[in-house]
Structures are given as C-alpha cells and as structure tokens.
C-alpha cells in the first residue's frame, strides 16, 4: 500500500475510528473479558456501583431528592456561568447589568428566572432531603459521618443562596443582606447586656468579616460575589464528591436488611433466589463461575441502564420544573438599592425568616443561639442514637409513625400557641419596661420553644425508653417550629414587624 493510498484509507475510516475511540471498548463486547471491561471502562459506572438494589430505585423511598439537589446544582452552575458573562459586580454597575440581562441579553431574563427558581428549589430540596434521611433512619451506622457531611452541604447551600441574594443590588437584596448582617452582629446583644462590648465584640467582628465594612456597600458586594461564584461552589462540589463517595462506600442507599430480598435481574431474567453460599458470576455480569464474595446480588438490577433512567428522570424533572417556573414567573427585581429608603418591612431571604421572627424577640438567641443549638444537635443525632434497628423504614415502624404524628401536633400547637400569645400580649419588655436585657436573652420565645420541645422529647424518651423515638420527637418538633416560624415571618409579618393576616392589609408606604 502506498502512503497516499494509506492516507486516503485512513481518511475514509476516520468517522468509524473516531466513534470507536470515543467508547473505550470500541465495539459490542464479544468475550467475557470484553463484557467485564465494558463495565470497568464505563464512565457512568465509575460514578455508580455496577448493580443497584431495587429498593434504591423506589420513588416512594427517596422521592429522588438527592438527585434533584444535584440536578439543581448543575442547572445553577450552568445558568450561573451564563449570568457571569454579563453581570458586573460593582455597586454602580450591578443593578444596571442585571437590568440589561433582563432587557437585552437574548433570553437573559429567562436564564435569570431559571437560576432564581432552581436556587429556591435547591434550598427547599435540601431541607426535604435531610428530613427524608432522618425519618428513614439512614444516618445510622455506617452512614453517621455522611450525615455530618450532609449538614455541611446544607450550610453551603444556604450560604450560596444567601450570597447570591445580594448580587442584583436592588432594594430587596440590599435590605435582606442588611438584616442578615445584623443577625451576624447579634452577639452584640449579649456583650452589651453584660457590658463587655468595649473589650470583646465578636458580633462586630462577624459583621465586618461578612461585609468588609459597617454597612452593605461595594466591599460587601465583591465579597459576596467571590463567595458566590468561586469559594462556595468549589467547597460545595468538593463536599458533594465526598458525600457521593460515602454513599457508595457505605453500602449504597439505606434499606431494611431484614426483609427478604426481591429477585435479582440478570440479563433479561429475574432470578428469584440467591443462596449466599452459592458462587455466581462476577458482578453478575460475566458468565461462568467465580469465587464466592461476601455479598450476594440479591434484589439488585444492573445500574446501567436502570439507575441511569432514574437519574435522567430526576434531572429532567428538575429542568422541566425550573423551565416552567422561569417561563411564567419573573425573578423579583425591585428598585435599585437605596440606603436612604428602607424596605418596609425589611426581610431576610425566606429560609431565614423563621430566625428573623426569633430575632425580633432576642437578636442573640434568634441569630446565634438557636442556629448553633440546631446545628450541633443535628450533628450529634447519629452519635447519640446508636440503635441499629429501623434503618430503611419510614419512621422506623408504626411506633415511630405514631410518635411523628403526635410530635407534629405538639410541635405545631405549642409554637402556634406561643405566637398567638406574643402577638396578643407582647413579651417581657412590654410588661416590665425596665427589665434588664439579659433576662430577655435568657427567657424569650426562642428559648421557651426550645425548652418545650426538649421537655417533650425527654418525656417521649421516658415513656418509650427509645432514643430513636425521642430523636424523632425532637426533630419533628423543630421541623414544625421551622415551618410555622418561617410562615409567620414571610406571610404574617408586615411593616416594622407587626402582625397582619395577609400582606394585602399592609399599610401602603
């Protein structure tokens, strides 16, 4: 063959060679070795295990929340990069650049809407995902540490949403971040009350660390921008990697190991029984005999394509939801930030409104005390509840289900009663104008509700002698409190934080 002919031949075969080189095997597997390699060389199966339990594919167990979170993050990264092309993080420029994204960037408004709704979806899903993992007991051995990693992801998710809130530089952003920065400043309430602010002022330090100044301005904007587009996404991605890796290495999604396994699916056939002492094909992919390994593939199906379809469904569901919301509802963009005209009322982002409601009684308890108690408490759950029973079962069984409903009722009623009381009668300052602030820091609706919830949880512990049920009781109470306080802060609080039945009753100002 002459070089010229060879060249022409190669040119002719290039499309086929290109296609074959893209897939590492290059062609349909023919031998067992090739079949196993088609698994080992598959990118998808490097992220996933080769076989996935049927239980993990059940929608009613996970609601796909972890996948929806991942998908929202991907959507946010994609739309966020598009927005970064046009966004200018300067106090004089930011607002106009967002307006230009709205008005002249092709589909810019749509992209920003998608970004906004995906962000809300992600925050919502991260709470739901945590509740799902908790109620199915999935934090138990060997998954304790992954629960802690998940808490880190929760914090980073809220941080990403909060830092992104400032970037449009409109009135909504400006005053929400002003409130947020004042929450960071809330240790000042304690240091003031005991008179040591002059020597020790952690509140001021936190606020200045966050804003780079004593007020929300250019320094704050650039800090939030760097956190939002670089620091937090990288941190979140790294932690996500750890989270996924641990999910795989800790044995996949949790399930009730005591139940008889459903049939496994090998090739095109469902294989009913796999005795653990029987030898079987390697990874149930390769034909022929292999030595026995410690776990049988009972109840599993091939990840490719079954898990792939589940993941595709979750990704496309997330994309479809954000597209539809983004098409019909514009992301808010108010007047340009104006320090001279406060929003009335100034409200933090919705997921912090429960805290803002508590801050309205005691800045320290709402802003530092309660969040610390909640985060530390959540982190300790898997180390305090070591009972291995009830993993993979919603609420751990009928007793847990009962405890859940009772705790939900108790949690809702007690926080509602407390709010009705404070709205109608005020709190200590209204009755004893001269009372020292330290007394209010110790006794305020936030601490009262925590005490009520703790008392309930202890009572459940005494009655049932089960740490798991007591944890269910406490978690459910806090969930109920979070929902009620968030609703209170977002819907029922109007100008200067008074009670209104509906925003339409707010006096126009």
């Amino acid at each position: 063959m002459t070089p010229a002919k060879e060249f022409l031949e190669n040119l002719k075969r290039t499309p086929q060679n290109l296609r074959e080189s893209m897939l590492r095997n290059g062609k349909a597997p023919e031998s067992d070795r090739e079949r196993s390699q088609s698994t080992f060389h598959n990118f998808f199966l490097h992220l996933q295990s080769v076989r996935v339990h049927r239980h993990s594919l059940r929608f009613g167990y996970t609601f796909g929340l972890g996948l929806i979170l991942t998908a929202s993050f991907v959507v946010l990264t994609f739309t966020g990069i598009l927005l970064m092309v046009y966004y200018k993080p300067g106090a004089e420029l930011a607002y106009d650049s967002v307006k230009d994204i709205h008005f002249v960037v092709p589909a810019g408004r749509f992209i920003r809407n998608i970004h906004r709704w995906a962000a809300h979806l992600m925050v919502l899903a991260v709470f739901l995902h945590m509740a799902r993992v908790f109620y199915t007991g999935s934090y138990k051995r060997p998954r304790e540490f992954n629960w802690v990693v998940g808490l880190g992801l929760l914090v980073f998710t809220l941080g990403l949403s909060f830092t992104g809130y400032l970037l449009p530089w409109d009135q909504l952003a400006y005053w929400a971040i002003t409130i947020g920065a004042n929450i960071a400043n809330s240790p000042r309430e304690v240091t003031d009350a005991i008179g040591i602010t002059v020597w020790f002022d952690p509140g001021r330090f936190q606020k200045q660390l966050l804003l780079g100044a004593n007020y929300v301005g250019q320094e704050a904007l650039i800090r939030f921008y760097v956190l939002h587009v670089a620091v937090l996404p990288l941190a979140l991605t790294a932690l996500m990697g750890v989270h996924f890796w641990r999910v795989r290495k800790d044995g996949g999604l949790s399930r009730d190991e005591s139940l008889p396994a459903p049939p496994a699916r090998i090739g095109d056939a469902d294989v009913a029984v796999f005795a653990p002492n029987k030898t079987y094909g390697l990874m149930a992919v390769v034909r022929g005999r292999t030595p026995e390994v410690d776990r049988a593939p009972e109840g599993t199906v091939a990840s490719w394509p079954n898990l792939m379809w589940a993941e595709m469904a979750a990704f496309l569901f997330t994309i479809a939801v954000t597209l539809v919301l983004g098409y019909f509802f514009d992301a808010p963009l108010k007047e340009m930030a104006n320090p001279a005209i406060p929003e009335n009322p100034a409200k933090a982002p919705w997921y912090f409104l429960g805290l803002q409601e508590l801050v309205s009684y005691s800045a320290f308890m709402g802003g530092v005390g309660i969040p610390t108690i909640v985060l530390v408490g959540l982190g300790l759950i898997p180390y305090l509840d070591r009972d291995p029973r009830g993993v993979g079962v919603w609420f751990g069984g009928p007793a847990g289900r009962r405890t859940f409903w009772q705790s939900l009722a108790y949690g809702l009623l007690s926080v509602l009663a407390l709010l009705v009381f404070t709205v109608n009668f005020g709190w200590l300052r209204a009755w004893f104008p001269a009372i020292p602030q330290i007394a209010i820091i110790v006794v305020n609706p936030a601490t009262v509700i925590v005490a009520l919830y703790a008392a309930w949880s202890l009572w459940v512990l005494r009655r049932t002698a089960s740490i798991r049920l007591s944890a269910v009781a406490l978690f459910t109470c806090f969930l109920a409190g979070f929902i009620v306080l968030t609703a209170m802060g977002s819907i029922f609080r109007g100008p200067n934080w008074h009670f209104y039945w509906w925003p339409s009753q707010w006096p126009t100002h």
Partner: protein
C-alpha cells in the same frame, strides 16, 4: 419477559424532556421573535417605504435593519432604548403618523438633540426597557416612572429658569411657581432654607420616590404626582391630621402646583447642559435684590395672618391669630419689638421664628417686613405704665378677667400667650398697660380702661404678669 424496573422513570424522562423542549422553544420565540419593538420597527419600515419618493429611497427603507437601538449619554448616566420603538422621533416626515412612530411634538428635538440629551432626562421612565409597560414603569419597581405628557414641563426646570423661557414653553410650571408664592405655602414649608417649620421642607420633592410618601389613603394611581394632586385637593384626606388648609384650587391650578413640586429637584448636571438663564437664576439667588416687604408678608405671613388687618379665628389651630397689621396694635409697638417678634417667633405657639437661624429670612428681609407693618400706623409715644403693685391682687384680677382667653397659666388659649419668653422679653410695661387700657380694635381684646380698670389695677396686673418673666433678664423701664 419480566417487568422493566425503570419503566416509570423512562416515562418521566420522556414527559419532562418534552415539557422542557416545549418551554425552551416557547421562551426562545417569546424572547426573540415576538418582542413588540420588532413589530414596531417593521411597521416603521413600511411607513418609510411608503413615504419614499424614489426607488433609491424605497430600497434604503427596505434595508433598514431591525435591531435594538439605544442612545447612550454618559454625562447623564442614561442608556435610553426608547428609540427602539420611537424610530421616527426626530424625523419631520413622521409628524402625521400615530405613536410610536410620530415625530416629537413642537420640534423640541431640534434644540435638544437626542444624542446629547437622550429621553429620560426630560420624560423619566425606565430607559433601558424594551416594552412600553416596563418603560412606563408605573406600578413597577422603578423610582422614576414616565411622566404623563401633561406634567413633562416639570423637568424643564432642571436646566432652565422657567420664567425666562418663551411664552408657551412652560406656562403651567410658571403658573405653579406664582401660585406657590400667592398661596403663601412658604409660611409652613421651607424651600431653599426659607420658610416656616410647620409642614415638611419641599427641597427635592421632585426627586422623592413613591415610597417616601404615605400612601395609605391614596386612591387611584400610586404615583408621586397623583399623591401631590390628591393632596392639593384634600390635604387631610391624604395625610390624616394634616394642618394644611384646603387651598380651594381649580383643576389647572392643582396641575400647575403639582408640576412645580415635581420640578423641585437639584440634579447634579454637567454645566454644558444648563441653559444660560439657569446660571443667571443661580447667580441671582446668591445676590438677591432689595427685599419687598409686601411680597415677603404675602409669601411668609399671609397664610396664617391673612391681610393682618384684623385678628382671625383659625379652626385648625383653635385660637385667634393676631391681626399684626392692625393700626391699634402697630401704633403701640416700636420697630425693635416688632423685629424681635418676627425673628424669634412665639415659642410654644404655632408662630415660628423667622430670623436667619430659623425661618431663613435675612436681617434685611426682617427689616423690610417691619417697615411694611409700620405702614399701618406710626409708632405712638406710649403713656408711662403705672408702677408694679400687688401681684396677688393682680392674680385675682387676671383669673377673673383675662384667663378665659389667655389661659390660667398665661400660656394662651384662644388669645396670645403672655407667659411666653419672647413676649416677656419684647413687650414693654408701657405696651402692656396701654393694651389693657384701650384694648385692641378689630380683635376680641376689650378696652378694660373703659370697663373701670384703674391705673392701680393695671399696676397690680403688671406685677402678676411679670411673674412669668424668665429669670436673668433685666426689666425694661
């Protein structure tokens, strides 16, 4: 063949893919193809083609690109995309076309070139927007919505002295300025540092946003101009408890005053945008002409004192406002005393001080006002006051005869406060004695001398009244 474990997920994937695809296409169409400005530009192209007289013109019209157009004016921080729909705005051939293609009325753009001024410096509104609703920006999150055409004159004052403009240019604004002076608005509202403190200062009212007005009682359009107009019609109906009198204005007057209010805006414009007459106006403000007492009285005093010839019952204040141009009063007061009253006002009453540190009037203006008041009657040498007598007896007399109007504590009910430090400082014994003897014509103050008060009674009263004198002031003879 056993059931496919991923069957439901396949369905979800397919359905969600279709929904996503559908909305992506819908968004692409909505954002790119069905925008209003594209349709307007296509219409404009057709109009241009129809108006062309020759083939070359028609070909040029057909080649007119359909694209976003904008005027960028860095000096005014303006990027105005209004011209994306108003393509014919500076094309005189479009005078007969409907909006948005029509030429700007009055050929104003010949002297205000679009490239130099843009649109929003005069019209307000959201210049960056590309749809009419968003450009108009009423009931929208935008600080300065598009001014209605009838009110656009307001912004002329940013660069012009309205009174120097040719007739027919800013007539309503000039009328508003005149009404502001005629109606005595300055008596309660400060403007450029001059005026009374009862109402809010009016500097830069035109730059306020709707969020800076209390709109709890505002019906209709939630704009600053609607607030101002409704407020001129019924002040207390918009601001509960407002002391502002209803000025009884006609509709054109309400509009003129609204325009004047909207024109109050100190915009930091580059000098090349200011008309020479505006610079003259600013110079004149630094070098005011000799003050005119009558005009000053009208501007700063008449809203409460009216003509000042008689004392007036004020329903809102619930007391008599003294008739300060009343000859009987002017006759008894010397110039120094009048000047002191104007400069210091009457603390504790609605009468504010008007001196340079309070109401902002210069010493020359206070002197001009005193001279104007003096035109009512020359100062009369007062007969001397009797010596101070028995304060206790004077007190009994005061409670019987005076306290009904002047208040038991002397702080004034419907009549002036006598326990007032400025009154105590400014009024001489001779003045008080003479007022008690002869009363005050055209006011409710009776002549007690004719009702049987002896000089001894008056001396006792004086002793009692001077008991309210602030300490550490030497008594005048």
């Amino acid at each position: 063949m056993p059931a496919d474990p991923a069957r439901s997920y396949k369905w979800v994937t397919v359905v969600c893919s279709l929904v996503s695809l559908l909305f992506l296409i819908a968004a692409a169409v909505r954002e790119n193809i069905s925008a209003d400005w594209r349709a307007h530009q296509a219409d404009f192209r057709a109009i241009l083609e129809a108006k062309s007289k020759d083939a070359a013109g028609r070909a040029a019209a057909r080649r007119l690109p359909i694209e976003i157009r904008q005027v960028t004016v860095p000096a005014l921080h303006a990027v105005d995309r209004c011209v994306s729909c108003h393509l014919g705005i500076d094309d005189p051939r479009m005078a007969d076309q409907p909006n948005p293609h029509r030429t700007h009325p009055k050929r104003l753009l010949a002297i205000h070139r679009v490239e130099k001024f843009g649109c929003t410096v005069c019209h307000q509104g959201q210049g960056a927007a590309l749809s009419f609703q968003e450009a108009k920006a009423e009931d929208y999150f935008w600080d300065y919505p598009l001014l209605p055409a009838a009110l656009t004159e307001a912004t002329c004052a940013s660069c012009h002295n309205p009174r120097a403009l040719p007739a027919g240019s800013a007539d309503k604004l000039v009328l508003g300025m005149a009404l502001f002076e005629q109606k005595g608005c300055n008596a309660c509202h400060k403007l450029d540092g001059k005026g009374g403190p009862l109402g809010p200062a009016l500097n830069n009212v035109g730059l306020k946003t709707k969020h800076q007005f209390v709109r709890a009682n505002l019906k209709g359009s939630q704009t600053t101009w609607n607030w101002l107009a409704e407020h001129f019609r019924d002040p207390a109906g918009i601001v509960a408890g407002s002391l502002m009198p209803s000025p009884a204005l006609s509709q054109p007057q309400v509009e003129a005053l609204t325009i004047f209010m909207l024109s109050l805006r100190a915009r930091d414009l580059p000098a090349e945008y200011l008309a020479p007459d505006k610079i003259d106006e600013q110079y004149a403000r630094l070098h005011p002409p000799a003050p005119d007492g009558a005009a000053l009285f009208h501007r700063y005093c008449a809203a409460c004192h009216d003509t000042g010839l008689y004392s007036r019952w004020d329903k809102k204040f619930q007391r008599f406002v003294p008739g300060i141009r009343n000859a009987a009063f002017i006759r008894t007061e010397d110039d120094e005393c009048l000047g002191e009253n104007i400069r210091e006002g009457r603390p504790g009453t609605r009468m504010p001080g008007w001196g340079p540190k309070a109401g902002g009037l210069s010493e020359a203006e206070v002197a001009a006002l005193v001279a104007y008041l003096r035109t009512s009657a020359p100062a009369m040498p007062l007969p001397p006051a009797p010596a101070h007598g028995d304060a206790h007896r004077g007190g009994t007399l005061f409670f019987q005869e005076c306290a009904g109007c002047h208040g038991v504590d002397g702080k004034g009910l419907i009549a002036p406060a006598l326990a007032n430090p400025v009154f105590q400082r400014a009024a001489t014994d001779a003045f008080i004695a003479q007022t008690v003897r002869l009363g005050r014509e055209n006011t409710p103050m009776p002549a007690f001398g004719r009702a049987g008060f002896s000089e001894t009674d008056i001396g006792d009263l004086l002793a009692f009244i001077r008991g309210w004198q602030p300490p550490a002031r030497s008594q005048q003879p």
